[in-house]
């Protein structure tokens, strides 16, 4: 866990960033957080987050945009929904985290591999209508640069990858695209447009 010190200067309240967040689709939920900390104690990945969800919400309120947007909190969220289930105020934290991720990507704040992976996965799904693991890997490495391969190998991913190939868990040949892919893409695009419209 990183040092939780935000800065040495006294925190000043600036609500312009908070307003930006509240304008997101689920952002307004951050307003009704009462800082009880139930999310933090419920979170399975809390230990590896920069800030617990409670702290993240408080940072939003205080107006610490840099800290929030660059934090890994939302990227470490596994969407297990435990916090959402337990929140006494009924805040769907998972959805808020999702909005924060989208915003961070959109505003170019992110250099977490998670973000690249999310994007690679999504592009793959969007272009085929189904997922091809090899394609995801290729996209991911292209996004992150070739240096990422070294890192993956250092993590002992080589053996795992070979094993999966051997057992046919990862196909070498891309699968066929689905029928009606165009329509699917239209549906998705429409949904995205609607979402943006609603958030405003």
């Amino acid at each position: 866990m990183v040092d939780n010190k935000i800065s040495s200067a006294p925190v000043k309240y600036d609500n312009s960033f908070a307003k930006e967040i509240y304008a997101l689709e689920n952002g307004h939920y951050a307003q009704i957080c009462m800082q009880c900390g139930m999310c933090a104690v419920s979170c399975a990945t809390h230990d590896i987050m920069d800030y617990s969800p409670r702290r993240l919400f408080n940072l939003v309120r205080v107006g610490k945009k840099e800290e929030v947007m660059r934090s890994n909190t939302m990227w470490m969220c596994t969407a297990c929904c435990m916090c959402k289930v337990r929140c006494p105020r009924g805040i769907p934290l998972v959805d808020v985290m999702h909005d924060l991720k989208a915003m961070a990507i959109k505003q170019g704040y992110v250099d977490y591999p998670h973000a690249a992976f999310h994007q690679a996965f999504w592009q793959e799904a969007f272009s085929r209508g189904r997922v091809f693991e090899g394609g995801i890997m290729a996209r991911f490495i292209l996004k992150r640069g070739l240096g990422e391969i070294k890192k993956l190998l250092a993590l002992g991913m080589k053996d795992m990858g070979m094993g999966m190939l051997k057992h046919g868990r990862v196909p070498l040949v891309p699968p066929r695209k689905i029928k009606g892919l165009k329509e699917l893409q239209q549906i998705i695009q429409r949904a995205q447009a609607l979402q943006e419209k609603e958030a405003k």
Binding site: I6, P10, V11, Y13, N15, Q31, I32, M34, Q35, R55
Partner: protein, 750 residues
């Protein structure tokens, strides 16, 4: 007196299976010579009750011993009218259910209980209710604020005459000062109008309510049903006779002059909540210094409250008030920023929804301790605080206005305008000091603050005794509205700090209690906790030594004095706790169905085995309010405890007479245990000081025991509540162990 006692032994509910009922009959009929003694497996059933009724009619019985279950159940079944005294002899919960069946000791216990109650029955008489002439059922409400108005309307709706006394020229109290109210109804999210005019109209148009405004109470004499109140209005005096009083004089804001550490006085822009209401009421929320519209505001919660040096308690309403006031600003300008610096948000009850609504409106809540308030640029203010949730120093600057949530202080905490409620010692009234010096029993006298509200003509003092911080004392769990003056019920923020919703509820509750009081008084019966009890203490005044202990120790101020210093009871004020009976060193106070000799006979009636039988006896005096129910609960849960105990229920441990302990010890009883309620600031005693008084008296018993050559550890007092019933077997076992260590009482057999 000629008395015919009938004994009816029930063998149902497992009694017959664990006890030899025929042997019990033998004890009652042969040994104790009861003229009628019957058994039945189901006395509480229609048939059983009919059997008893027939016997009452045939044998002209005037006392009935129902030997079976506890008096906490089936009390309606065994009610045979006021002329027949019914004593319930509990051999179900206290014997059959809590001891080994068909055991010699269990049987002995049941037989002893019958012997004890037969001894009591010899002198028990049916009490005669005290019926008052010229009784008034009018309810007087003191204070015309939210609580007072509600109490008046509710009582009037229940068809009681109401006298409403308000010291200001118009009704409304605190409502007059408010711009709007926090929500009073579901969904508890939006501000409400005070609706004051409609509320006042409702009172003025109600023919049952008589309103005195600009009026003070000169004096209040008498007791429930008989209060003679002198009201002073515009220089003239008016007399009213009322039955009960609801005290709803409310609270006032804590003096902000003492909040210099939060910047009060340093800038005109640091104001209190009530000052903010004034500003909001005028229209635009602007800075008092230069009239600039407020764009950024901060509220500091717990200003003075929850502060050991100022008000140690939580003022309960300020959190919600600050949310409300923050919403005033948001109403004026939704872009304006509002910060609330809090210790804990205590938006009790449904106000959680209001808290959420305030958050949704954009009010920012900061959990932090304010460390400083200083001046910033251009007439603005700066708050520095330790943000607890961030673990950081935080700062809110460019504030136009700072509002201090400066808590509330009850109106009963003032003497001639000076606050004496908290930490300030009230000089003891001379009479009290004298009495305390005269009597060697140091009675912890309840402080009475002369707040000039009711001006009671009571020997014990002019107002209600307080417990802490100037709030009138009440049994906060069981009888919150009861003050320590029977017939006077406190409601609203004079009772404890509270918000409007609670005040409305409180006033309704207190009005109901006042109605109960006048109705019970009309029947000559006590109000709770001994509701319905018609017995009254009799004083044998020819033996009175004017020691004043009864007048001092009566928790409800029921006893006045005549010119000679003799006690003079006000029967309608009496709550029948019999604390006076235990207090009287001459033992001249007794009730028709409860007296020192009566209990004395009981403890002389059970058998004390010889030393060589190795069966010690422990006598327990158990308070009927909590200890007896706890013992019953132990039985209901089939917890097994020592069969060598003999339990005598007492009305309150405050009625404990030391002569009982003396008598028990000289009979050879090995130990005496007093079971009563918790005492202290958060006491549980239903009569305020009963168990405390018993312990004070007990501290003197060691002398007596020494005289008898006994160890003082043989007599102990323990506190217990109904929740502790599981502890009883352990508690008794521990006491028994101690007694066994001490060995048998050497007085045995003398």
């Amino acid at each position: 007196m000629a008395k015919k006692t009938g004994v009816f032994i029930c063998s149902g509910c497992g009694i017959g299976e664990s006890l030899d009922v025929d042997a019990l009959v033998k004890v009652a009929a042969k040994e104790c010579k009861a003229p009628v003694c019957k058994t039945n497996p189901f006395f509480c059933g229609a048939e059983g009750v009919e059997l008893i009724k027939q016997d009452i009619a045939a044998g002209e019985l005037d006392c009935i011993l129902v030997v079976g279950c506890s008096n906490r159940v089936n009390y309606n079944a065994f009610d045979f009218g006021p002329s027949v005294t019914v004593e319930r002899v509990n051999i179900r919960e206290q014997v059959a259910w809590s001891h080994e069946p068909n055991d010699e000791d269990t049987q002995a216990m049941a037989e002893d209980i019958i012997r004890m109650f037969m001894a009591k029955a010899k002198t028990v008489e049916a009490p005669v209710p005290y019926i008052v002439e010229d009784l008034s059922k009018t309810i007087m409400v003191v204070g015309g604020g939210m609580a007072g108005m509600t109490a008046a309307i509710e009582s009037a709706k229940a068809n009681y005459q109401v006298v409403l006394v308000e010291k200001e020229a118009s009704l409304g109290g605190w409502l007059n000062k408010l711009y709007k109210l926090a929500p009073l109804k579901t969904p508890f999210t939006s501000l409400e109008d005070t609706n004051l005019e409609a509320r006042i109209n409702e009172i003025n148009s109600n023919p049952n309510i008589k309103v005195y405004t600009s009026a003070n109470i000169e004096k209040t004499a008498g007791g429930p049903g008989l209060f003679d109140v002198t009201i002073k209005q515009n220089g003239s005096e008016i007399s009213e006779r009322v039955g009960a009083i609801v005290l709803a004089t409310g609270a006032v804001p804590y003096d902000p002059e003492k909040l210099g550490h939060l910047g009060f006085g340093t800038s005109p822009n640091v104001i209190t909540q009530s000052m903010f209401e004034e500003i909001a009421k005028k229209g635009t929320i602007a800075r008092p210094s230069d009239g600039k519209e407020v764009k950024k505001i901060a509220f500091i919660q717990c200003a003075g409250s929850r502060d050991a040096e100022r008000l140690p308690y939580c003022s309960a309403a300020c959190c919600v008030e600050s949310m409300k006031q923050a919403l005033y600003l948001k109403e004026q300008d939704s872009e304006a920023q509002a910060y609330v610096f809090y210790k804990d948000i205590r938006s009790s009850g449904q106000y959680e929804h209001f808290y959420k609504a305030a958050q949704t409106a954009g009010v920012i809540f900061v959990k932090g301790d304010v460390t400083g308030v200083s001046a910033g640029n251009g007439g603005t203010l700066v708050i520095e605080a330790d943000d607890i949730l961030m673990g950081e120093k935080t700062m809110a600057d460019e504030l136009d206005l700072i509002v201090l949530a400066n808590g509330m202080v009850p109106t009963t905490a003032f003497t001639e305008g000076a606050y004496v409620g908290c930490g300030v010692q009230v000089p003891e009234p001379e009479a009290g000091a004298e009495a305390a010096a005269a009597a060697d029993a140091p009675v912890p006298a309840a402080p009475i603050i002369k707040s000039n509200i009711l001006n009671l003509v009571y020997r014990q003092g002019p107002e209600l005794p307080d417990l802490k911080y100037g709030f009138p004392d009440s049994h906060y769990i069981c009888f919150p509205y009861e003050t320590r003056r029977t017939g006077i019920y406190a409601a609203g923020s004079v009772r404890r700090p509270m918000d409007m919703v609670q005040a409305i509820e409180d006033a309704t509750g207190a009005a109901l209690k006042a109605i109960q009081c006048v109705e019970m008084t009309a029947q000559g019966a006590a109000v709770h906790p001994r509701a319905g009890d018609t017995s009254l203490p009799d004083f044998q005044l020819n033996r009175c030594t004017q020691c004043k202990r009864c007048t001092d120790e009566c928790p409800f101020g029921a006893i006045n004095e005549d010119e000679k210093g003799n006690p003079l009871i006000n029967p309608t004020r009496c709550r029948r706790c019999s604390t006076c009976m235990g207090a009287c060193p001459e033992r001249i106070i007794s009730f028709k169905n409860y007296s020192v000799p009566m209990i004395g006979n009981m403890l002389k009636a059970f058998e004390v085995p010889e030393e060589d039988e190795e069966k010690p006896r422990i006598l327990i005096f158990a308070c009927e309010n909590d200890a007896i129910p706890a013992i019953d609960m132990a039985g209901i849960n089939r917890l097994q405890y020592n069969p060598w105990v003999r339990i005598i229920p007492v009305r309150c441990l405050g009625s404990l007479s030391l002569v009982w302990i003396n008598d028990a010890m000289s009979r050879g009883v090995d130990g005496v245990l007093l079971l009563g309620c918790k005492h202290g600031d958060d006491y549980q005693c239903h009569f305020m000081k009963g168990s405390e008084l018993a312990e004070i008296r007990l501290s003197k018993v060691s002398e007596t025991l020494d005289r008898l050559g006994l160890e003082s550890e043989r007599v102990q007092a323990k506190t217990i509540s109904i929740m502790d019933y599981e502890e009883i077997p352990k508690m008794l076992a521990e006491f028994m162990e101690k007694i066994e260590d001490l060995g048998p009482n050497p007085m045995k057999g003398f």
